[in-house]
Amino acid sequence: MKVRKQISVFVENKPGRLSKVLEVLRDGGIGVEAFMIADAGEFGIIHLILSDPARGKERLVESSFAISESDVLVLGSVDQDLLLELSTELGRSDINIQYAYGSLGEKDLIVMKLSDLERGEEIFKGILSSRRAPPASSE
């Protein structure tokens, strides 16, 4: 689990905009680890988790995109039970998941934008340590 920089790009909702963004990143040798497109009619936002967010940001700004960065929680090795436990716990602590994207399974990666990142992070750490703490009875 890590707190990472998410890069968000403003795009008009018309064909070819995602490919333009991906092209700029590829030409800069920057890897895309996860992405989501959110749209509101005639415009939208592409959220990106990049191998090198600082350089990714630079390249996108050079290509005159309007971009913005924010901190998000990025989780790896997540199974369905863990995700359920975490979201239940966040709900109980009144922390809102503003949006999230990702997948479970082999190459699992979940990205969460939270209303309170720090506390969310603590809660997740707590869950993980409590999972590890009990003696490995089931194994």
Binding site: E12, I45, S64, A66, E69
Partner: protein, 445 residues
Amino acid sequence: MGRAKGALKNAFWEPEAERLSPKRIKEVQNERLRGLVRRVYEGSAFYRKLLRERGIGPDSIRSIEDLEKLPFTTKEDLRDNYPFGLLAVPFSKVVRIHTSSGTTGNPTVVAYSRRDLEIWANCIARCLTMTGVTPEDVFQVILGYGLFTGGLGFHYGAELIGAKVLPSSTGGTKRQVKLMKDFGVTAFTSIPSYALYLGETAIEMGINPQKDLRVKTISCGAEPWSEGTRDKLEDLFGCMVFNSYGLSEVGGPGVAFECIAQDGLHVWSDHFLIEVIDPKTGEALPPGEEGELVITTLSREAMPLIRYRTRDIAMILDDDVCECGRAHRRISWIKGRTDDMIKIRGVNVFPSQIEHVLMRMPGVGNNYQIVVEKKGHMDELKVRIEVTGDIFKGELKDLVELRERISSELENALGLRLTVELAEPGSLPRAEGKAVRVLDRRPER
């Protein structure tokens, strides 16, 4: 702000002419109007015919009260009499010829005698002195040189003052900024959209316009703009920015200019007589009422114009003597042009009204485009605005809210329903010269 306002209170280029009392101005105007009618009667076949048709003799006009008896002159008259049909002096007296670009047909020709050029340079020198330019200044003329009156007009005016003139003309934005920095430019003139572009380019180049440049006074004109843009420019450069008005047909820039009061533009009333009329009926309107600006050139020799219809919309302000000490008549900012006016569902809309609203909203870009389309029988007004890094915070709902806020502000200001579209940075046409603001896609009627 760069210069103390107090010091500018006594900044006059031609103190006697600039400080004429309202009464003296009227006397000068009466005398010069009588002289003008006599001159065109003798020298201009075009005006002689026009005046005779109305039964006006060389001595029929006694004072400016008789002005309404005189006929209007229009842009069509200038085109129809291309190239030299409106000369009022023998061709041998002409020492300079400019033209104004026409989108269709013949350009408009403007001819100057030697004395016309002298008066023109002095008018510009008055404008610049009034706004703080002195012989100490390095003055960059960022306006087109050549047939366009802007570049050479300001060039000779600034040179007359004794400023160090840098004739950098237009284009090559980064080079312009470099010269501005390297030469310690303290004053410049350009069109407003280009001044904004210069400031933005400076920032992109890592140059802070307020700290790394020495600009203390700026004048802008030659395209419609708004006080919102002026505020933006003043913030960008950290100095006062003054509105400049003129049009090539009556000789170019230097007809009217803002003073330090920044409360309307003084028309040099010893050389130009102004009226505001109802563009439909031609009737004169009182101060405070908006209409078409009409100019009579009182001093021009080579190509004087009587009651020239500028197509610019403005109003005459009250006739109090201004705090700067000048009684020369003040006009408002130009609200638009009679031909720029877009009629949407029966409502008159000027691009400057839209610009004014956008400029007041923090973080909204300088770049916008107005699109008018026909959907069925209805005119649809769409305003496209570029999203900048300043506005965009990565959240969809902020953008949706911003779009709502812009449309409600615009709807309030215009009294029209419209749609706002957010566009990617750099996606709207941005000419290095005049920005392409209006796209009217309605079929011709």
